[in-house]
């Protein structure tokens, strides 16, 4: 059974930016792209654990602030030739509010 948790209003996430959610499953970075898509990843780069939420967001990717790995927001995969994977969380937007499935 899905368990949707209300997080924040979409407008409180800056475009091409993110917010950090502290949850029982660890820190989750919730990103908003330019066209208002929302993605959620474990706030932890597969390389050296950098906080992805603090990176520069472009397209459907984020660049880790520590060593510039590029992580796909869609599936959490590091862009080649780097290898690694960050956990993704299911997220939805309803009436301008962001919900996480936890």
């Amino acid at each position: 059974m899905s368990n949707w948790t209300k997080i924040v209003s979409l407008n409180d996430i800056p475009k091409l930016g993110s917010r950090v959610v502290r949850s029982a499953k660890g820190e989750i970075a919730v990103f908003r792209t330019e066209d208002d898509q929302v993605f959620a990843l474990h706030n932890h780069c597969p390389h050296k654990g950098g906080p992805l939420s603090q990176g520069i967001v472009y397209g459907e990717k984020v660049t880790c602030p520590l060593h510039s790995w590029q992580i796909s927001l869609v599936d959490g995969k590091a862009q080649e030739p780097d290898e690694g994977h960050t956990a993704c969380f299911t997220v939805k937007v309803e009436d301008g509010t962001v919900y996480l499935e936890l």
Partner: protein, 808 residues
């Protein structure tokens, strides 16, 4: 919509490189079909010499496997030669009847070895040196026979001769001229080369004209010369030049002139037909080396992708002989002559010869023999047209002599063992890089950076990586152009971007990307910070600052650390503090349990390990301005004690430092900017390694610029001497403002000066008094009304919700 059909004739390096470039930028535009007359997928033709010499295998030199074609949905026909192009119906058909329609056609038919038109040239055992088949023939012959003759003492001929010798044959090289490689080498280097090849067991017959190739039972047996002499031969390799393959294009009525004629966009006279590689004539020149082909491929791809950008303007080429144990490099015009100067180093016993030809303060040609480590460096200066007078004294002794720290003085790629570390940041050793280059078919520094990470962090080893790349690839290496695109999102270089922003008065990132036809919807982590800086520095108070396009440190006004915590460095103007400030810092450090308190090299105090959510409270408690220790901005002004206390001091350096730091506070720049002020020539503030270093002397102040204490230590250069502290502010401010307006993003002052030259800086700052004053005014205008970012954040903490963590 149905995709357009792109048909490629020629499955070689030029054609497939074009397709790779095309797939990178427009992966879905075409249905692609490739015809190749060889039975193999695309392989690295320039590595055939190492294959012949037994140093490589065929499998290792395949560039694109059959799987690659399949993965990219490319239909590949190998072993099929196109013999007809019907331009009206737009059909290309092969000898075996296979035919296909095209919307666009790319001809990359390459070249064939030129066979001397002499009797006997069609005998069995007389071959060129062009493809895998030729290599197989040579190896088979070597297994059964003894005598090999190579006609032509050029690059290809010598590589073939060397390979045949290693395969166990007795090899004689016939050459028409008196000097080997006369198009690449001058006489002294040519003789040194001949000597070392003779030591390897090759025989040379120079100034010999071949009259006839002798044979029995339709098989070669010997060679006869015009002077009547004869030598035995079981195989004859003709390596006297290549001829572009343009017969197919010509038969289709496409304009040819000793090659398929193309314009600067690689288009032939038929707008649907493009051509690249050795088969073309561009501005009257056909190239037989691989580097120009890659440049053509890049340009051609942008036009096939319908971007309508990119121009090919011809290439300056360099060559390297791929014979193991012989290091030889040549580039440009090395023949010298009137109006040129030569610098020559010749050590006949040590086997080293270096010659640089200089004209109008620029390198126009170079020949290196025996020690080619600096070939890539000289070539880069040659292509970039860089003025050399500042380093002329050291030029001959190579890049090492200019100083480089952090690599144990190890800068000679060829002398390095495989397990030696090249990139200290990412722990990459030489063997890993060489393996990657060979196995993955890498050709550019960027490829190597991506695949191995070498050179991708601090960048100090890039020169070394480049050498490894050049020595692994030989002639296949194409040094990066000096004015490269900002990033993969655009073809525009930094200067073009700056000009557009100025000319079109672009004020925000979306407008700028639209006006300059950015390929990506919102750029990437490389171009967005650069654009943001260019907008702000060009249109201060008008352009819109985009926090999301700034690196986290500048967004949050603190420096991110490896564990995601931050460091806080308050400003202490001129490195001067008070007991009250120190007490506040101590209190704050205790209150927030700061794990480390450290004195920085810039004369202030760093509080390390601060949690993000504590930042604003700490700033509020500290009540001190931000030290900008995290930004591409003014950092510190380091000072010595100066005349107030020091018994040697001649000037009040601390006050000067405080004045500068206050005047230029809050200043963003292409990269960090560090100042220092010393009160006397003892220079205790280390002014010699700062972006702007000021040294007090009895009669005033000396100003030095372009110093750097970082990756590569650079000593600042003397700019001028001034009398008053007002002048110090005006001169150094003008210098910094011109740097802010004209340098590329992430250029330190030293890099910028390296490109434009100190003379240019002097002209702008010293000779043009009005221009200097105006530049200084522009800087003051840009800084007008700027405020401390920490105080601002404290005041408006409710407006910056995005920094708060949400707990569920």
């Amino acid at each position: 919509m149905k995709k357009m059909q792109l048909v490629v004739i020629g499955n070689g390096m030029a054609g497939m490189r074009t397709i790779e470039e095309l797939l990178k930028i427009a992966p879905d535009l075409y249905e692609i079909t490739v015809f190749g007359d060889e039975p193999h997928p695309n392989y690295n033709r320039i590595m055939l010499s190492p294959v012949l010499a037994g140093e490589q295998t065929i499998n290792n030199i395949i560039l694109n496997s059959r799987e690659w074609y399949a993965e990219n949905n490319i239909t590949l026909h190998t072993g099929k030669r196109i013999n007809k192009i019907d331009r009206l119906k737009r059909i290309a058909s092969a000898e075996d009847g296979t035919s296909t329609n095209y919307d666009r056609l790319l001809i990359a038919t390459g070249s064939t070895p030129f066979m001397l038109p002499i009797p006997g040239k069609d005998l069995q055992g007389v071959i060129g040196f062009r493809d895998i088949k030729d290599v197989d023939t040579m190896i088979d012959t070597a297994n059964q026979y003894k005598h090999a003759v190579v006609i032509g003492g050029g690059l290809l001929g010598l590589e073939a001769a060397n390979g045949l010798k290693i395969q166990g044959m007795q090899v004689t090289v016939i050459h028409k001229s008196a000097c080997l490689l006369e198009r690449q080498l001058d006489k002294p280097a040519g003789s040194m080369l001949q000597k070392s090849l003779e030591d390897k067991g090759l025989t040379f017959l120079l100034e010999k004209d071949t009259e006839q190739i002798l044979g029995e039972n339709n098989r070669v047996t010997g060679v006869r010369f015009k002077d009547g002499s004869e030598i035995p031969a079981d195989i004859v390799v003709m390596a006297v030049g290549i001829r572009p393959n343009y017969a197919l294009a010509e038969s289709a009525g496409i304009h040819c002139d000793r090659g398929i004629v193309v314009n600067d966009t690689m288009q032939t006279y038929d707008p649907r037909v493009y051509a690249v590689g050795e088969c073309v004539t561009h501005r009257g020149i056909s190239y037989g080396l691989v580097a120009p082909l890659f440049e053509m491929a890049k340009v051609c791809a942008t036009h096939l992708a319908n971007f309508g950008i990119g121009q090919y303007k011809g290439s300056v080429t360099s060559t390297k002989l791929k014979v193991t144990g012989i290091d030889l490099f040549s580039a440009g015009d090395f023949s010298g002559g009137e109006g040129t100067e030569e610098i020559v180093l010749h050590d006949a016993v040590g086997g080293v010869y270096k010659k640089l030809v200089i004209q109008n303060d620029k390198i126009i040609g170079s020949v290196l023999y025996g020690d080619t480590t600096d070939g890539a460096w000289y070539f880069q200066m040659l292509r970039g047209g860089k003025p050399i007078h500042e380093i002329r004294d050291h030029l001959m002794f190579g890049q090492d002599s200019l100083g480089n720290s952090g690599h144990q003085g190890q800068t000679k790629a060829s002398a390095m063992a495989d397990e030696m570390e090249v990139c200290g940041c990412n722990g990459v050793c030489k063997g890993t890089i060489v393996k990657s280059i060979k196995e993955k078919g890498l050709f550019t520094i960027d490829d190597v950076k991506k695949q191995t990470k070498a050179g991708s962090s601090c960048g100090s080893c890039v020169g070394l990586v480049e050498q490894i790349l050049a020595s692994t690839l030989g002639g296949g290496y194409a040094p990066p152009s000096t004015s490269k695109a900002v990033c993969g999102c655009t073809d525009k270089n930094h200067e073009e971007v700056r000009k557009m922003i100025r000319d079109k008065k672009l004020l925000n990132i979306p407008d700028a990307m639209k006006a300059m036809e950015w390929r990506t919807p919102n750029g990437c982590a490389t171009c967005r910070p650069a654009l943001n800086y260019y907008l702000l520095s060009t249109w201060p108070h008008e352009a819109q600052d985009d926090p999301q396009s700034r690196f986290i440190n500048e967004r949050i006004h603190a420096n991110i650390q490896k564990d995601g915590t931050y460091s806080v460095v308050p400003r202490m103007y001129g490195g001067v503090t008070t007991p009250d400030q120190l007490r506040k810092i101590a209190d704050v450090a205790e209150k927030y349990a700061v794990p480390m308190v450290k004195v920085t090299g810039g004369q202030r105090i760093d509080l390390l390990g601060v949690k993000k959510e504590d930042l604003v409270d700490m700033w509020s408690d500290l009540d001190m301005p931000s030290g900008y220790a995290y930004g591409k901005s003014i950092r510190t002004v380091k000072t010595c004690v100066g005349s107030e206390f020091c018994r040697f001091g001649t000037q009040n350096s601390t006050q000067m430092g405080i004045d500068i730091e206050k005047a230029f506070d809050h200043m963003w720049a292409p990269h960090k900017v560090k100042f220092a002020v010393s009160g006397c020539p003892r220079n205790c503030a280390e002014s010699g390694i700062k972006d702007v270093g000021i040294i007090g002397v009895d009669s005033g102040w000396e100003i030095y610029v372009g110093g750097n204490g970082g990756i590569k230590t650079e000593v600042a250069q003397y700019l001028c001497k001034v009398k008053t502290s007002e002048e110090v502010l005006e001169y150094s401010g003008a210098f910094i403002q011109i740097y802010r307006e004209e340098a590329r993003y992430l250029d330190r002052t030293v890099h910028w000066i390296g490109r434009v030259g100190l003379d240019y800086v002097k002209k702008r700052v010293l000779e043009d008094a009005e221009g200097r004053k105006a530049a200084y005014e522009r800087l003051l205008f840009a800084l007008q009304g700027t405020a401390d970012p920490w105080a601002e954040r404290v005041q408006k903490r409710d407006e910056h919700k995005e920094f708060e963590t949400i707990t569920v």
